[in-house]
Amino acid sequence: MPTLKVNGRRVIVDSDATLLDAARAAGVEVPTLCQFDGLEPWGGCRLCVVDMSQANWDDDWFKVVTACNHPVDEGMTVITDSDRIIETRRVVLDLLLARCPDTPLIQQWALEYGIEQTSYTPNPDPDDCILCGLCTRVCDHIGVSAISSINRGWGREIAPPFNQPPPDCIGCLACAEICPTDCIPFETSTVRRKIWGKEFEMLRDPKTGEAVITKEQAEHFAERSGVPMTYFETSDRSKRREMAKTFEKLQVVK
């Protein structure tokens, strides 16, 4: 269990912890955009940069690294608010504000770092996508990989194959839910769901008639887990009722 210092505060963390974990343990806030607990860290937004010095380095020799994915080490010194770190974060936010000038999340973060208007040339045709990759990463994590990033460089975008409704999408809405700027539109009702241009039929609970899940999502989960489809067709409310009835029976037996 390595010990390290974050902004002067001593913390002890697990050996497989990241600098972000260490900062949180020390009660120090480090801003992030592309990080999400439970997903592999990606290191793309660069907002979580911190200054780091290894135990065996000279005292004044630091390296700028991303906290979300850098592993901890015994005796490390981490500084999350040095001048150059603040300045680097400022540049990152200033650039994101230029790409997404109308996006509230970015406007808020930029304001926190003293930026009201971007110093750069604003995107003439902006949307809210900050290219954090969370949508594609969660889709990969679920084992579907229906959408991906296309092109490269500034023209990089998130899209389904051929910009057509993605054949592999199961309509689980994880991408829309995880998106920090809510820029993935979708429609959902008790009968139908639509996302990325693809339409889904909702499976309804046989007892209550509530919409539970899409057929494709149920099939995907059933296949992955080996649990029968009927489990996924039941709404949470029905599941709780079943559970309550089971406990009731137990009570009686006693």
Binding site: C45, V49, R84, T88, A98, G153
Partner: protein
Amino acid sequence: MRIESCDQFEALRKQSLEIEANRKQQVLVCCGTGCLASGSKEVAEAFADEIAKRSIDATVDLFVKSTGCHGFCERGPLVVLNPQGILYTKVKPGRVEEIVEKTLVGGEVIPGLLYKDPVSGERVEQYGEVPFYRHQVRVAMRNIGRIDPTDILDAIAQGAYSGVAKALFEMSPHEVIGEVATSGQRGRGGAGFNTARKWQSCKDAPGERCYVLCNGDEGDPGAFKDRSIMEGDPHSVLEGMIIGAYAVQANEGWIYVRDEYPLAVVNLTIAIREARKYGLLGENIMGSGFDFDIKISRGGGAFVCGESSALMRSLEGKTGEPRAKYVHSTDKGLFDLPTVLNNVETWAGIGAIIERGGAWFASMGTERSKGTKAFSLVGKVKNTGLIELPMGTTLRHIIYDIGGGILKDRPFKAVQTGGPSGGCVPEELLDLPVDYEELTEAGSMMGSGGMIVMDDRTCMVDVSRFFLAFLEEESCGKCTPCREGLKQMLHVYGRIIAGKGQAGDLELIEKLAAGMQLGSLCELGKSAPNPVLSTLRYFRSEYEAHISDHACPAGVCRELTAFEIVEDGCDGCHLCYKACPVDAITGVVKELHVIDHEACISCGACLDVCPTDTIRTFPKHELEKAEVV
């Protein structure tokens, strides 16, 4: 045909040497990409025709060999005659008959085909005496231009795979690493990491197996040494990789070749096939018990795949997105297993290091940069081409003594080294010895070895913009500072070059540069500001002229520059008229020509061809003032 012992290899080598020695006359025609572009294939065919016409025995009496790139591409097609040692330059197929008749049969030299020194005006007969070659010490490129790269026996005769025999039969893997450590060789791809240390790290890393890779994704525009090595002596690469694989006990390797080098892919494929045939690759190499095989992987057209972690992603069939550097490739590289990735030139040098010893290699070069380095000398220099020299040679020696000085004797302005990650070195630093650390301290970088010479007709603001535009197209787009930063830098540069630069633009550039250097995920983004910062360091006044005076001192930026034919100097040669792509010049032969400013697009084609140097550039805004008056 499989070689199953060291003795058998020796016997084959001696046999191949004898065949070479028995040839009475050899004609070596350079068929590297550069000379091919000048028509050398037709020259080789013309020699074949002569042989058929004269019914000469083509195996002994006149053997024509197509070799790889000699490096002196400017003077191609190049033909070397052995045993005479004569070099003929700019050989056209039509002159082949004369060469056979006069030189080969008659024993007479044809002066018009000899290299003419641009400074002394003298004709040089001997290949080894030509200044371009005389100063060179060829280690990685030792056999290029001497062997037919598609003939493995020719390569073996010249020493290929002797290093493999020595390593496999006389040394342990530990000793091999020791020898490379003694040589002090550092990676020749640009990062300059110590080769032996990299191999040792891989050897020490836990894993069920490991891999050796060759980075043939030479993406630096202006650098073509790796292309020449892969095309002209693929065996040197295979040999190095076999020795390296033996050192780290890898059984599989890949050579990643960029898509834009089709001939390199062809010649490497042939070399691998031949090596397998002779038991120099595959199972039980030379009967030593060591198994190792190599496959080729072609790039898809992405500069970022020259970055080691991106290259490995590409080999895995993915997009070339680099990975964070905290995990070293020697611990988790290709398929998350320990991997050694080295550059083409690095591998090419290994065979020589093992054969001649690490101490020999370390006897050349400087304290921190041992051995020799290949450079591609290009741009506004008289002798453009590929050279290999000991580290520590000065830039002045390279550009003037070997390069012959600046094209058209225009004033030298800067030499750009290190590609898009490097910087520009100005005149006052010409005596800098070429060495990893010296170049970095001067604000540039060794990089791949590309040296682009620039004259007074090069605008440093335009050069920086060029590199930024290059990198913007090549950025993978994963991280914010690089993806957004490059685009925004270009916006500012666009303003400056159009004469709309604002006060504060230079400070904005510097701030953004710092953010990119610290914040970017990989070296592409981190080093992207280098050309910007180095040109600001040494040529700040040029930027200020663009911003404050709306002028481009070099006369390059089109929106800021107008052209005029000076009355006194014009002799009516009519060349500018012919060169102008938009017919903006009027004039009759022998009379003064005039440029129509309305039609002129300021491309500079006229100035480039004017033999009397009478076309001058001036700030375009002066035209408006003139009109107002």
